[in-house]
Amino acid sequence: MTGERPAQVAERVARASFGRLVALLAESTGDLQLAEDTLAQAFEQALTRWPRDGVPDNPEGWLLTVARNRQRDFWKSAAHRRSAPLEEAADGGGAAGPLDELDADAIPDRRLALLFVCAHPAIAPNVRTPLMLQTVLGFDSADIARAFAVPAGAMSQRLVRAKRRIRDARIPFAVPGRQAMPERLAPVLEAVYGCYALAWPRRGDGGSLAGEARYLAVTAACLLGDQPEAWGLAALLTLASARATRPDRPFLPLDEQDPSDWDRRLIAEGEQYLRRAERPGRAPGRFQLEAAIQAVHCDRARTGVTDWQALRTLYAALVAVAPSLGARVAQAAVEGRTESPAHALGLLDALPPERERFQPYLATRGDLLARLGRHEDAAAAYARAAALTTDPAVRTFLDRRATELAAAACRPSP
């Protein structure tokens, strides 16, 4: 820590501890907006005080104390007393003594409870992932709006409403008991997965949203301890991150990627999480199966070949528990390897009409048609896939395939 400038310390603490501090500040009253606002004020104060007085030994404790004092000021303010006499809320703030010398590890971690608040059944599904991004990870609402391709004002309003709802309906900051856990955990994992699945503009500091989502998944799995699907999601996101295209590289489909580009350390970490998800004698869940599929792909780094039969079995199991469009398209792609491209095309033809707006469907179709020698149809499928893609690197790849296949269609077959 020595040698860091105060502003750097503030930024590091903001990144690592934002969600932890928001969860602590909001849990007694459920007022997330006030927690975020007072924490922002504390960070502002840190940026003027720390360069002058030096960085405190426990920056987190310092920020928490300052934010709690701001909260109390707010509750005590005459304007607030007139508009809503919430005496009990003021009690909830707790004693805000000097926490400067407090052990950072002694600050309890309430982030898991906050994740369950964000994905509570009383919160609309379309705002759960944005809420997590804002309250746990500290993204601002304009960035979140961009990631979801909605106007900034609309996203901000959606978030404000959801936070007001959490406070007014008093959604508890609590981790559900064993009985309620299965139904409550699923939407939490879905929303964390949603963070990962977003097409996300890269952050200036080099971290990506995929990295943040992976961090959330691993945090949730560690804090829950014994939930196989939570470990499955942590494994899935870790293994997928291991193969992620680097910002400076062109996009390549999985089977054209060079395994020596993959991150061996993340693969080992993901495999370790996957082992923690295993429960002998119990049917694996959706995320565990998706992680196992990623593990098979990553195994090419060790063996040099892809075990298509293993993938075939895993996709059959995945489609049985979670028959999403994405899973069924990927299953068809695997069947195209283990059976035949014609058989796989038959599987694609059986998919519901919304497939026509699904880029992976069109790209998979293009690949299968190309392998059947139907170059003109393949080029058309790739062109439509490219038109549906927002990621520039993926679009470049799909456009190139479309062009190559169109050229091949003009040449007479050898």
Partner: protein, 125 residues
Amino acid sequence: MRYMLLFHYTEESEESIGAERMADGMRAFAGYAATLEQAGILVYGQVLRPSSATTTLTCADGEPRIQDGPFADTKEQLGGFVVIDVPDLDAALEWARQAPPAAWGGTVEIRPGAVHIEAGMWVPS
């Protein structure tokens, strides 16, 4: 924290569902009331007469306009409510789940209280 659980369900009568099922419904409500009372969380409860007995009043230009019939003319009507005092929404949801109308295909609306009257004064719920 106080929550009002509002029970919306299709209005039935002895003629439409028979005396036996009507008696079953009343027994279920009696059991629910006893459970809430036993748990020490019941503030107040009320089952309402059918919406055919209701009257609505609105004022247009200071003149009262009185009409027969409910506020919203829908198939499901407000049939009753209870006010309970519990720590949070999860607790309120658990009691809502046990409400008899939930088993009849009705809807239970869980509305957090803002303020209520105690000794003539509005106090936070």
